[in-house]
């Protein structure tokens, strides 16, 4: 049994017939080839697959494909305006907040969702928003600092200076 779903990813409309047991993550990665969203556990425990669904950060590995109908998804590929990086992406680079980079898309999406909702989060709020994202390389310090810089500047992550 397949379900017809109509949804948007990074502003582009898609129509697909999806099986009930497929995940949103697999649709993004294997059907739309949007491989910036990563799979680190497939069980909602690492945050590598975080995308923003109708303003809310979600683990795409936990959402079933039929639920895609009618939603607007933002993935890491949708953060920059072509080569023009979002302030948060720039801040990650400036602070050296990435190493192997596998967790990076997930952190960017969690933090972007936070900053869209709350442009001036406190350090606690920032840490709280990324506490479901695992990173084995960085020790988190630079990730928090990169987000803090944008929080201090008081601009939402998706508007350019």
């Amino acid at each position: 049994m397949k379900y017809h779903v109509h949804f948007y990813v990074n502003g582009d409309a898609y129509d697909l017939d999806v099986p009930a047991n497929k995940t949103m993550l697999d649709v993004l990665r294997d059907d739309l080839f949007l491989t910036g969203t990563k799979e680190g556990c497939g069980a909602g425990e690492c945050g590598a697959c975080t995308v923003i669904v109708d303003d809310v950060p979600l683990n795409a590995c936990l959402v079933l494909a039929p639920e895609l109908d009618g939603v607007h998804i933002t993935t890491v590929e949708g953060l920059s305006d072509g080569p023009k990086l979002s302030p948060l992406q720039q801040s990650f680079i400036k602070h050296g907040a990435l190493q192997c980079g596998f967790c990076t898309p997930g952190f960017l999406m969690s933090a972007t969702a936070l900053l869209n909702e709350n442009p001036h989060p406190t350090r606690e709020e920032i840490i709280d928003s990324i506490s479901g994202n695992l990173c084995r390389c960085t020790g988190y310090k630079r990730i928090v600092e990169a987000i803090e810089e944008i929080a201090a500047r008081g601009q939402t992550a998706e508007t350019q200076e």
């Binding site: 497939g42 680079i93 190493q99 192997c100 980079g101 596998f102 990076t104 084995r136 928090v144």
Partner: protein, 770 residues
């Protein structure tokens, strides 16, 4: 220096923040097949029969293989490993069969249809028991295995290597000591937990060419091992490694590639992909070996350590093809960074029916230092001396001999120690506002050398394009540590060109030149040396042409900002791009040809140790030394330990990129904290009980302490621009520093990690009852 020592932006940064960096799991190929693996439910069993007939009949299945198909053993140092179990299974989860099918679901269904009959065998689930003469033998044919000449398996036992270090006369020395004490420690298995689980794709073409795309730290070592195991000539075997989502050792050597190659060979023309789940990752990639450690220490009244006797028993797991070298490395470093005249060490690698032990960041050092550095504190306390004073007295200085007999040519031990003492505020008590929480501070040092074959090689090629941009080609692998950036900086410095003009290409054995492996914290040092030599080669060739062009002796010319410039008459200069295709003359003729530089590096006079004494004049390339400090707060009601602050200072030789250095230091401290406080692969009768992130917790942003990173730079004489390796050493002192801080807070010693809240609470209760 212009580019070395600068925090230039990571060359992979834009790709990684935009999701454009491609990892093997991101590759989609036409007509790709998917593999799944049938695994053993038993830690030790004889395979009586395997029936694959039902699996083969399932629609969509394209190939099924079992261990019987490929019986040739292979291994990096000791050829003890089969990619699929052959006749017996030696750990729970070991691959016994594998399937390639049109979808991963069909492949899984087919695996479930494979019927395996086992006869369970008694299992070895403790390395100490595994050494006993009546222990069940896990590799009864050990005496027939091929082994590198510096490893010494004991035939008809479970001991796959016994490294002996014999320096001075320990028995006599203990008698001369004023105080002698023996302490034991246990370090359990932990897992690397790279965020990207292992993944590989293999494709076999009709002309016999096999291409493997793998998430690996070691494309060349993979190529070599696969070539031996499957009898494929090296020119027909291509290994490609794109970005790797974290390694920490788990992606060194050969891992899952050996399972998909036989499948690909049966599905000619079609790529076959195997992607590990997180559960596979916990169980079937390498784990850090467990360690039982006994240290006997003899000191004089003045605090000098006069003798140590160590026994290290490593739980190597089912295969120790790589693990034997960790056991050797642990033996090499067994006295710690201290000047001790009499050292006796026995370091044993023992087969058990546990997951396969393999390289993990630190390569044995994190494990032994958890013991060594607590031991210093314990012994110091026992003789009434401040532990840092004891470190000051015994720490290695330039000119001192290491436990292996080499003379230290550089040592930043004391400077790092003083820096950390100052930064952490050692000796100054800080208090929590909550009376039920107590604080403490601890210090620990560490050292590590690259543990690699003494003649491990690196090569690099630099090519100039017509417009004066460059391609730098090496096979040092970017795994997050920043090697692409560091190597680019070394090239930029040597050529005196903007790093933005250089594009680095790595990880393709058909196209990028030889690199032994990206392990041992060797890339900046070894590949860096090769890169520097390649750039110098290119410079030399261009200067030959430039002297014709400029009509000046080459000794008077230099590279500057993308030009060849006359040193005195600086307005006489030619852009480098004019030499990209050689030198062209007015009459239309030319000389020199396209500009290309080649560099190759093997450290000279790096000589194997003596088999009987374990001693050598120059058995390792260098030692990296550093110190960590930690401040913790212990909750007396819950037993929970919160690390408030960690401080690191290492002698890095020369820091090529301060930002990536500091970032690695921070990551290392937090990784060490995870092992100290909560990480353990829980094994019960050979079964792993925690194979997911709920039951195996790694640090999150919530756990992050305040982190402070310092470094000093005493140049490594043989390193490029003085650099030495740091990636692994940075993790070594973290866990014992935390353990020492916990002792300072509550006066309880933990000789086992992890120091969980339950352990702390239990110990506090015991202490109260005494």
């Amino acid at each position: 220096m212009k580019y070395v020592g600068q925090s230039i932006e990571r060359v992979d940064a834009i790709r990684k923040v935009t999701g454009q960096a491609q990892y093997v799991g991101d590759f989609h190929m036409p007509r790709m097949l998917y593999a799944q693996v049938k695994r053993s439910p038993y830690p030790h069993a004889k395979i009586i029969s395997i029936d694959v007939s039902k699996a083969e009949k399932l629609p969509g299945v394209r190939a099924v293989i079992t261990g019987e198909c490929y019986t040739k053993r292979c291994g990096l140092y000791l050829e003890d490993k089969n990619f699929l179990a052959n006749k017996t299974v030696k750990y729970q989860g070991e691959a016994v069969a594998a399937v390639a099918a049109e979808t991963a679901e069909i492949a899984q269904e087919a695996c479930d249809l494979i019927e395996v009959v086992y006869e369970e065998l008694p299992a070895v689930t403790n390395a100490i028991d595994g050494m006993k003469p009546d222990a069940p033998l896990i590799h009864p044919d050990l005496h027939t295995y091929k082994v590198a000449p510096i490893f010494f398996p004991k035939p008809h036992t479970n001991i796959s290597h016994h490294y002996k270090l014999r320096k001075g006369d320990v028995d006599k020395a203990f008698q001369e000591c004023d105080y002698v004490a023996e302490h034991t420690y246990y370090i359990p298995h932990v897992q690397h937990v790279p965020l990207e689980p292992h993944v590989a794709i293999a494709q076999y073409e009709y002309d016999g060419k096999l291409t493997v795309w793998a998430s690996t730290q070691s494309p060349y070592a993979v190529r070599q091992a696969l070539s031996v195991a499957f009898e494929i000539p090296l020119n027909k075997l291509r290994v490609i490694s794109p970005y790797v989502g974290g390694g920490f050792g788990s992606k060194a050597g050969t891992t899952i590639e050996g399972i998909i190659i036989p499948l690909a060979m049966r599905c000619k023309g079609r790529p076959v992909k195997l992607q590990y789940s997180r559960e596979d990752e916990f169980q079937n990639s390498y784990v850090r070996q467990g360690l039982h450690c006994k240290i006997k220490t003899g000191v004089k009244k003045d605090g000098r350590i006069h003798a140590v006797k160590n026994e290290f028993v490593w739980d190597g797991g089912a295969y120790t093809e790589y693990g034997v070298n960790i056991v050797k490395a642990g033996g090499f470093a067994s006295a710690g960074p201290y000047n001790i005249d009499n050292v006796w060490t026995d370091s044993y690698c023992v087969y058990t029916n546990h997951p396969v032990g393999g390289p993990y960041r630190g390569f044995g050092m994190c494990e032994i230092h958890f013991a060594i550095e607590q031991n210093i504190d314990i012994v110091a306390k026992e003789i009434g001396m401040d532990p840092v004073e004891m470190r000051r007295i015994n720490g290695l200085r330039v000119g001192d001999k290491t436990c292996m007999g080499e003379t230290m040519v550089v040592s930043g031990y004391h400077e790092c120690l003083e820096e950390v003492i100052k930064d952490i505020g050692y000796g100054e008590k800080s208090e929590s506002t909550n009376p039920r929480k107590v604080r403490g501070k601890g210090i620990a040092a560490g050292w590590k050398s690259p543990s690699m074959p003494t003649n491990a090689g690196s090569a690099a090629i630099i090519r100039m394009n017509e417009d004066g941009t460059f391609f730098l080609m090496t096979s040092g692998q970017e795994i997050g540590q920043g090697s692409d950036t560091a190597l680019t900086q070394i090239a930029a410095e040597t050529l005196d060109v903007d790093p933005k003009l250089i594009t680095i290409r790595t990880g393709d054995t058909d196209h990028t030149p030889y690199e032994w492996q990206t392990v041992a914290s060797r890339t900046t040092y070894c590949a860096g040396n090769a890169v520097k030599l390649a750039c110098e080669d290119l410079k030399k060739k261009i200067l030959e042409l430039a002297q014709i062009k400029l009509g000046a002796y080459k000794r008077d010319l230099e590279f500057k900002d993308g030009y060849v410039v006359h040193k005195i008459y600086t307005d006489r200069k030619v852009p480098l791009s004019e030499f990209a295709l050689g030198l062209a003359f007015d009459d239309g003729s030319g000389v020199g040809g396209p500009a290309i530089g080649v560099g190759t590096f093997t450290l000279e006079n790096n000589i194997n140790y003596d088999k009987e004494t374990g001693i050598g004049e120059h058995p390792v390339a260098f030692w990296t030394i550093g110190v960590n400090g930690a401040e913790v707060e212990v909750d007396l009601d819950t037993g929970e330990v919160k690390v408030l602050r960690m401080v690191s200072c290492f002698d890095a030789g020369k820091v090529i990129n301060p930002e990536t250095f500091c970032a690695q230091s921070e990551g290392a401290m937090v990784q060490a904290m995870g092992t100290a406080l909560f990480e353990e692969l829980i094994l019960k009768n050979g079964h792993i009980l925690n194979k997911n992130f709920v039951d195996y917790k790694i640090p999150t942003a919530d756990d992050m302490p305040e982190l402070d990173v310092k470094y000093i730079e005493h140049a490594e004489p043989t390193g490029p621009y003085g650099a030495r390796g740091v990636g692994e050493p940075l993790m070594v002192p973290g866990a014992p520093a935390i353990a020492n801080a916990i002792y300072d807070a509550i006066g309880v010693r933990f000789n086992r990690m992890p120091i969980t809240a339950e352990e702390v609470l239990k110990a506090l209760k015991e202490k109260a009852n005494k």
